[in-house]
């Protein structure tokens, strides 16, 4: 249901996203070129040490902030699931959002102790 084509100007691939409910095009997403992938991998490697050297408490604070954003953006998340893969909204909220909620506090609280 999804078409990949080369955008003419910058040689980047893009993909049109269609709804599996009726085939309607709902968005176009730019894909990463090989160069862009390489740059992202290098950036992730470069950030490793400084992230790993933070204390567990500092990393936990960051995860707690992400949890807050996750709750604030619940509707955007649910709608993305509903539109792109056609998931019932009830399931988007229960299985995906409420079901994921314990992950933030569990790992923020327990990772240091478990390691």
């Amino acid at each position: 249901m999804q078409a990949v084509k080369k955008a003419s100007e910058d040689n980047h691939l893009e993909k049109s996203v269609t709804s599996p409910k009726d085939g309607a095009v709902i968005a176009t997403v730019a894909l990463d070129s090989d160069q862009s992938v390489l740059a992202k991998l290098k950036a992730a490697h470069a950030a490793k040490n400084s992230w790993a050297n933070l204390s567990f408490k500092e990393r936990a604070r960051t995860i707690n902030k992400i949890e807050q954003l996750f709750l604030e953006r619940q509707e955007e998340l649910a709608l993305a699931l509903h539109q792109e893969i056609g998931k019932p909204l009830t399931e988007s909220y229960f299985s995906e959002i409420i079901g994921s909620l314990p992950l933030f506090s569990y790992w923020a609280k327990h990772t240091e102790k478990l390691l």
């Binding site: 730019a30 950036a43 019932p88 399931e91």
Partner: protein
């Protein structure tokens, strides 16, 4: 660490891997399924809006590019998806000795014993089979019901299945029970399994066709299924619920284990002790009693499977341990050379033997070799 996520739970499944990976001190490159790029973008923004630059990277790429990412070098690959792609990931990761974890789906059975609570069981199984239109790696894809309760269970599940509404059945404002299948190939596999059930003598009680709009398939309840049928042997990943009647619990367990996947099994019974005993015989990573499709949402419990379901663990301390490398820093403040260092000679051999003799002997007879050992030590360090 590379997280390769599937399209069926494109939020929950990657989060289960990403959050512990970050807490353990990894940076994360996240490759959402190409069918769930919009969800992937919203998810990624949660992280990139808060984390320091570089720590979280979203890769919007196709499968072949994913192979290049592994080739480039990552410290760990967490893959959730199909057996076929999982095998390719494993081969590629093995080539570069990159540790990896694979969660590759299932063909999960529900076992219904004669004393099951009929209402809870029928509701639970119908939900477990049709939630996310069956596109759940722990979907109930086989039911083994003991013959004494079979008719009542089937009748109730038939009523409940017939009441389910698909996206094409409701007005736009209303929510529905079943969405579409997400890919055309998934719809084809589901319809092919339904055809195979039909041709090999099973009976379709409810559903059995594609929806007229989009990629949906009607929720389909099947009876008189058997192990010769594709929809019992292979993962369907669609809204089918095939039922088989068995003579007793042991028969059900044997048939449930006759499968090349091993993710979860659910047992439905009022006799908890009996359910727990049967659970020990089942070749799956999770057994739930009187519930289904829920323990993956409990971060403290390991989520993993047997056989073609793959290896490695999601959730729990075990998953965390896969995402870190052990590091031993051993510091010695002892000044002399160690007993087992050079020089080697007749005396060093005798010293080793005296040491072992202390362990071999019992009680007071240990004293003689202990004295020999101490003497040997003194001589060795004087020399």
């Amino acid at each position: 660490m590379l997280v390769v996520a599937p399209w069926n739970y494109p939020l929950a499944i990657p989060l289960r891997n990403i959050i512990p990976a970050l807490m353990a001190g990894n940076t994360v490159v996240f490759k959402p399924a190409s069918q769930a790029l919009l969800v992937g973008q919203v998810l990624a923004k949660l992280f990139t809006d808060v984390l320091p630059p570089g720590v979280f990277q979203l890769l919007k790429i196709q499968g072949a590019q994913t192979e290049k990412v592994i080739e480039f070098g990552v410290d760990f690959v967490s893959f959730t998806g199909s057996v076929e792609v999982g095998r390719r990931v494993a081969q590629l990761a093995a080539k570069h000795f990159i540790p990896h974890a694979l969660e590759l789906g299932g063909k999960d059975a529900a076992i219904v014993l004669e004393d099951a609570d009929l209402e809870r069981t029928a509701h639970g199984i119908v939900w477990g089979a049709f939630t996310n239109a069956g596109q759940n790696c722990a979907s109930i894809e086989r039911v083994y019901v003991v013959e004494t309760i079979a008719d009542n269970l089937i009748t109730r599940m038939q009523q409940l299945t017939a009441e389910l509404q698909s996206y094409a059945d409701v007005s736009q404002q209303n929510d529905y029970d079943l969405g579409p299948l997400v890919t055309p190939s998934q719809q084809q596999i589901t319809l092919q399994h339904i055809d195979d059930f039909r041709h090999k003598g099973a009976k379709i009680l409810v559903g059995g066709d594609a929806l007229k709009l989009g990629l949906g398939v009607k929720p389909t309840l099947i009876i008189n299924a058997s192990h010769t049928m594709q929809g019992i042997q292979e993962e369907t990943f669609g809204p089918t619920l095939p039922v088989m009647v068995v003579k007793d619990a042991q028969d059900a367990v044997n048939k449930a284990n006759d499968c090349h996947y091993g993710l979860t099994t659910s047992i439905w019974t009022r006799d908890i002790k009996r359910g727990e005993n049967l659970a020990k015989q089942l070749q799956t990573g999770v057994v739930t009693i009187n519930n289904c499709c829920l323990t993956a949402s409990l971060p403290e419990l390991p989520w993993s499977g047997w056989k073609d379901t793959g290896y490695g663990t999601t959730n729990s301390e075990r998953a965390l341990m896969e995402m870190v490398r052990p590091k031993v820093i051993f510091t010695d403040r002892y000044k002399r050379r160690e007993l087992w260092w050079y020089p080697y000679n007749q005396k060093s051999v005798q010293l080793a033997k005296a040491y072992l003799e202390i362990f071999r002997r019992k009680g007071l007879s240990k004293i003689a070799p202990a004295i020999d050992f101490l003497k040997g030590m003194l001589t060795r360090f004087k020399s």
